[in-house]
């Protein structure tokens, strides 16, 4: 069993090989086979990841209750210079193992689901190729032993996300959304890259003196306590971490870089479940957690992280209450939950690691119930052929399995005992309370209520009442291959919370955690959730719009603002098109053609003018030239005469 750690590289290798295989060959001959190979490869990865997890968590923790950080396999990739050598390799530590399990599980289920969902699509093979590419990149990101590898796969998941969002490339909206997702995250990655470079720049002089094993960009080097102290001494750590956080905020769609995520719902629904709910968007959270020992030395940055998280959390939850597209509601819900994770991380410190554990725990449970919600929504969309919740209704009887699993997910995300969300959200609120952050505690509590409200809203509107469109009245249950993943995820959402999580994932001092000292948190949390559900039932329980319309009318102006997502998209549109394209790009293009090129043409013109002046002494008469020649010879002779004396 010990061997599995040494062979951990197999986990990302399977999807990569399968990506090359089906991308270059199989896809062209048999689309169906491509799907099967893709799914099997993820299955193999999943099996390896599970074995790895069992092996790894089977290792005895050390005296402080921490598990070892291992790099069982790596090779030199780029040798920038001594000290900045970058290896590609596999890092095995608690959070990477955790993420590997989550990613392979969700990815396997999404692959299975997609075999049903995407059936009959012309780009079936292409879809699985990209999906494999994504899984490979995500696993590569998760196992990165140094920050450059993280950046490398960070970009690759961005690219595969771009490809998958733009899967329906003939649809203008999908193309625009994919472009937007890539460019916004790319902009954030600029910060990430600069942060890495700055970190290297300030760290390099220290590296030369420290004599510590490893290379500067290695996580083992960066999180080594001795080096951290030295780095803090430079005074630039805060800025570089802030820049790195910018990258994390872009990928995890924190305000104000969140605008790409709702639009990303233009991709196929399983893609949204895998990439834009369960895995890729938590990469930002994962990055901050990965660098947590560094972040914990800069409380200002952590506080910033935490407030941005809280704001995003509330902001997105408010918008989610007004959206009509089921996938957009889920997207805003994802934003909101990511906000939870980020603000929990921001609350933690090496002395009080509860927020860190809570954040990872929420990441873990959220992956399952949010994937389940998306896949359930996919099943509904598959049946109803519409994304609009007002076109649904009455699906409870027509799609019983989907209904049941969706209900479990709604309860889980709302934080109802005994579902997974209850435990993780509880822990986040507890962390806020213990940290003495009342704003976070109250904010988190209110958002929990809002979450219950809007989730119940889409639940009631799609399953209760009577069908409100032709599509929903003719809906039918999804095929078996789509239902299996739903059921598996439902089970995971049910039991996920019971995992003794803090035994596996910890950081820093271990004795402080686990204290469920206060019983006020679970009680308050459940109360708020039930209130949210109840209010939602009051408004939407009958599957009609009468009551909600009344509320909307009463709050007209505010409702309009919220419904239009506070006009953030328009602001960006204005800045990019009206400001940058108009006042930078267009003038430059003009300047180049007219001024710079004009200068060149002017030189040419001047030369021609000068030559036309000189042609005046050219008569074209051989005799004139002869005269010049003779006179010239004479003058030369006379000059020679005088100089020779």
């Amino acid at each position: 069993m010990h061997d599995m750690i040494a062979y951990a590289w197999l986990i990302p290798a399977f999807p990569f090989i399968s990506f090359l295989l089906i991308g270059l060959g199989v896809r062209l001959y048999s689309q169906k086979l491509a799907g099967i190979i893709a799914t099997l490869s993820i299955g193999a990865s999943f099996a390896c990841a599970l074995t790895l997890a069992i092996t790894y968590f089977g290792l005895a923790p050390d005296a402080e209750g921490l598990r070892p950080t291992l790099v069982p396999w790596s090779f030199i990739w780029v040798d920038y210079m001594e000290g900045l050598r970058v290896n590609l390799g596999i890092l095995v530590d608690p959070i990477s193992v955790l993420l590997m399990v989550v990613v392979t599980t969700v990815s396997l289920l999404v692959h299975l689901y997609s075999m049903g969902y995407m059936k009959g699509e012309t780009g079936y093979g292409r879809y699985f190729t990209w999906l494999n590419l994504f899984t490979f990149s995500m696993l590569g990101l998760v196992v990165a032993p140094n920050i450059i590898q993280t950046y490398v796969f960070w970009e690759l998941v961005g690219a595969s996300s771009f490809l998958l969002i733009g899967y329906y490339y003939e649809r203008g909206a999908a193309v625009a959304a994919s472009k937007k997702a890539f460019i916004v995250t790319r902009f954030a990655d600029l910060g990430f890259l600069l942060g890495i470079i700055l970190l290297g720049y300030v760290g390099y002089p220290l590296y030369q003196g420290s004599g510590v094993e490893g290379q500067l960009f290695d996580y083992t080097y960066l999180t080594n306590p001795q080096n951290i102290t030295a780095l803090v001494g430079t005074g630039f750590l805060g800025i570089s971490l802030l820049l790195i956080y910018m990258g994390a905020a872009g990928k995890s769609a924190m305000f104000p870089l969140h605008i790409w995520l709702p639009d990303a719902m233009e991709g196929p629904t399983p893609v949204s479940a895998l990439i834009h709910a369960a895995t890729m968007v938590v990469a930002g959270v994962y990055l901050v957690a990965r660098l947590f020992p560094l972040f914990s030395t800069t409380p200002d940055v952590l506080e910033f992280v935490s407030y941005v998280g809280l704001f995003t959390c509330a902001f997105a939850a408010i918008i989610a209450c007004t959206q009509d597209d089921i996938k957009r509601v889920l997207a805003f819900s994802t934003l909101s939950q990511l906000g939870y994770m980020m603000f929990a991380l921001g609350l933690a410190s090496m002395d009080q690691p509860l927020g860190y554990v809570a954040s990872m725990f929420h990441l873990f449970t959220h992956a399952f119930f949010k994937a389940l919600l998306f896949l359930g929504a996919g099943a509904i969309i598959h049946a109803v052929h519409s994304n609009d919740i007002w076109h649904m209704g009455g699906l409870k009887k027509l799609m019983p399995v989907t209904h049941l699993t969706f209900l479990i997910a709604v309860l889980a995300i709302s934080g109802i005992w005994p579902f997974a969300g209850f435990f993780s959200k509880d822990e986040i609120l507890l962390a806020a309370l213990q940290g003495g952050k009342n704003i976070h505690f109250i904010g988190g509590l209110l958002v929990a209520g809002l979450t219950a409200f809007y989730m119940a809203r889409i639940y009631f509107l799609s399953f209760w009442g009577s069908p409100r469109s032709k599509g929903s009245s003719h809906a039918h249950e999804a095929p078996l291959i789509m239902l299996i993943p739903l059921c598996v995820l439902a089970v995971l959402s049910l039991v996920g919370g019971w995992v003794p999580f803090s035994d596996y994932v910890t950081i820093g001092l271990t004795e402080h955690q686990g204290g469920h000292g206060s019983s006020i948190v679970p009680i308050l949390g459940s109360l708020v959730a039930i209130l949210g559900l109840g209010f939602s039932w009051f408004v939407y329980g009958r599957g009609e719009s009468a009551r909600s319309d009344a509320i909307a009318a009463k709050w007209g102006m505010v409702f309009g603002w919220i419904k239009n997502k506070f006009y953030m998209d328009e602001v960006y549109q204005f800045i990019t098109h009206q400001m940058i394209f108009r006042f930078v790009a267009t003038p430059i293009a003009w300047f180049d053609r007219n001024v710079v090129d004009g200068a060149v043409n002017l030189t040419g013109w001047l030369t021609r003018r000068a030559s036309s002046i000189f042609t005046l002494i050219q008569t074209g008469q051989a005799q004139t030239y002869g005269v010049w020649f003779v006179v010239g010879t004479g003058v030369t002779l006379i000059m020679l005469w005088f100089t020779k004396g």
């Binding site: 970009e155 690759l156 003939e170 790319r186 990655d189 470079i197 790009a585």
Partner: protein, 505 residues
């Protein structure tokens, strides 16, 4: 004839063979076989060189270490020699050129107008390019440099499109101005070192063994750097490039953007920085400033272009800016990155222009707004275009990322002679181009390939044929291999970059 002479003259002999080929249909085959043999010989040389270089250390060298040298007196009285040699940097460039000419011949498979003259000129041109990369006598270097630049006039003027005479004339004249600068600079070096040591020679390492007075370096360095910079599209001397590329036929654009523009960066590094270290220190910030403008200006300029070739040409201006930026950082990583970027950009832009030629051959337009939804009918070309685009915006996994990250890290780390704050500010500005590049690449390609098909007659277009798949496949494989396993190239280059940097100290 030694190995390196063969490397230079195989294209020339192929050109002769092309001229003597009676059947027009066989011409392209002759050219392909010639460049194929060259590719094999290049691979052989590279492997052999790698075997030698990987055994050596270069940490203390101050002179370029040359391998497989061939040295004969040519004009003995003037100290001019036929002196060939190869080191890591020039090997990388030879590999690049060999790949580009091979794929360039493949990409011109359907040239029907005067194929004999076309292929002959193309091959003469690369003869010059190989000569430049392999000769270490500066007189010989300059001679090959002119051989490489001049055929371009005819290639664009005869086989081009659009305002071809104007573009060809502009390109040639601007490059000639650059040549004049270089020539004056070379003579200044020759004269000063000759007077100082009593030995007049054009041999690079002999010239390098003399320490030029600072006052003289201060004016010769910018002269030579700008001279080469014109060919490397240094702002504001870059305007020949959009027009020239837009008018040139496919293979010529490939060669020109892919290889010829690299002569600029190569010369700037090999001659200007290597021979004039003090001048380089003095002028580094100035040229970093100009190249920062290059990088941002090119990428912003590309956003608004309507013609695919202009679009790529501006992108080239931006990327070649990164080459010269890397040279101007005078930092080990930066300079290494500059050479890597030359290689990477050469392959990438070759791919771009090859693809543009293929698309143009089908749609008969290069205007971005007139196209749309082409991915539906030509999926292979669309994927290749996106690969090229992703490589150009520096996606890890392709060579562009390796090169750009070297340059940016190097620029940020700075050097010992210039204000590090100024260098960092410029590096940050230059790094911003990765976002702007993403904007124009995705906008441009999205318009051409994605969305609904805009014109019904596009529905009848076909996807890439065999030669086209081969052309693009080779280039993509190179981009990918260098991106995933860059260590081979990096180690190759390192040994030749170190002497240049050691001289600065």
């Amino acid at each position: 004839m030694g190995l390196l002479s063969w490397l230079i003259f195989i294209p020339f002999f192929t050109a002769l063979a092309v001229i003597l080929t009676p059947q027009p249909k066989q011409i392209k085959w002759v050219a392909l076989i010639g460049s194929g043999i060259h590719l094999l010989l290049t691979a052989y040389t590279a492997i052999k060189l790698w075997g030698v270089i990987s055994q050596e250390t270069f940490t203390a060298d101050v002179f370029a270490k040359l391998y497989f040298t061939e040295q004969y007196d040519w004009f003995k009285s003037l100290g001019i020699q036929y002196m060939l040699g190869v080191d890591g940097m020039s090997m990388a460039m030879v590999i690049l050129t060999s790949i580009i000419i091979f794929t360039g011949v493949l990409a011109s498979w359907h040239v029907t107008e005067r194929p004999k003259e076309f292929f002959a000129l193309l091959l003469v041109l690369v003869t010059g390019v190989f000569g430049v990369f392999l000769s270490f006598d500066l007189f010989l270097f300059f001679m090959f440099y002119e051989v490489a630049v001049l055929p371009m006039y005819l290639l664009i003027g005869v086989w081009g499109t659009g305002p071809k005479e104007y573009s060809a004339m502009k390109l040639t004249l601007m490059l000639m101005v650059g040549s004049a600068f270089i020539l004056v600079g070379l003579f200044a070096l020759y004269h000063t070192s000759g007077q100082g040591t009593g030995v007049y020679s054009f041999n690079l390492n002999t010239l390098a063994s003399f320490e030029y007075p600072k006052s003289m370096q201060a004016w010769v360095f910018p002269m030579i750097f700008i001279g080469f910079g014109i060919l490397g599209a240094l702002y504001p001397f870059h305007t020949w490039s959009p027009d020239g590329h837009a008018s040139a036929p496919t293979a010529v654009s490939m060669l020109h953007a892919g290889v010829l523009m690299k002569l600029g960066g190569y010369g700037a590094l090999r001659i200007a920085v290597y021979l004039l270290p003090d001048g380089a220190k003095e002028w580094a910030l100035f040229f970093m400033g100009l190249t920062t403008i290059n990088i941002l200006y090119g990428s912003f300029g590309a956003i608004k272009q309507k013609d695919l070739k202009y679009f790529t040409a501006y992108s080239s201006v931006s990327h070649c800016g990164i080459v010269l930026f890397g040279v101007a950082t005078l930092n080990f990583m930066g300079v290494k990155g500059a050479v890597l970027q030359m290689f990477s950009h050469g392959v990438m832009t070759g791919l771009f222009f090859a693809l543009i030629g293929m698309v143009y051959g089908r749609t008969h337009t290069r205007m971005i707004p007139e196209m749309g939804g082409l991915a539906k009918v030509m999926p292979w070309l669309a994927v290749c275009f996106y690969v090229a685009g992703m490589a150009s915006l520096g996606l890890p996994g392709f060579s562009g990322f390796i090169a750009e990250s070297h340059v940016f890290i190097g620029g940020f780390f700075g050097n010992a002679w210039n204000s590090s704050v100024a260098m960092q500010v410029m590096t940050v500005l230059a790094t911003m181009s990765i976002v702007v590049t993403a904007v124009y690449v995705l906008r441009g390609l999205g318009k051409v390939f994605l969305g609904p098909i805009t014109d019904s007659h596009y529905l009848s277009l076909t996807d890439a044929g065999f030669t086209e798949k081969l052309t693009t496949g080779i280039l993509i494989a190179v981009l990918f291999l260098v991106g995933v396993f860059p260590q081979f190239l990096i180690k190759l280059i390192e040994g030749s970059v170190l002497p240049i940097l050691n001289r600065l100290r």
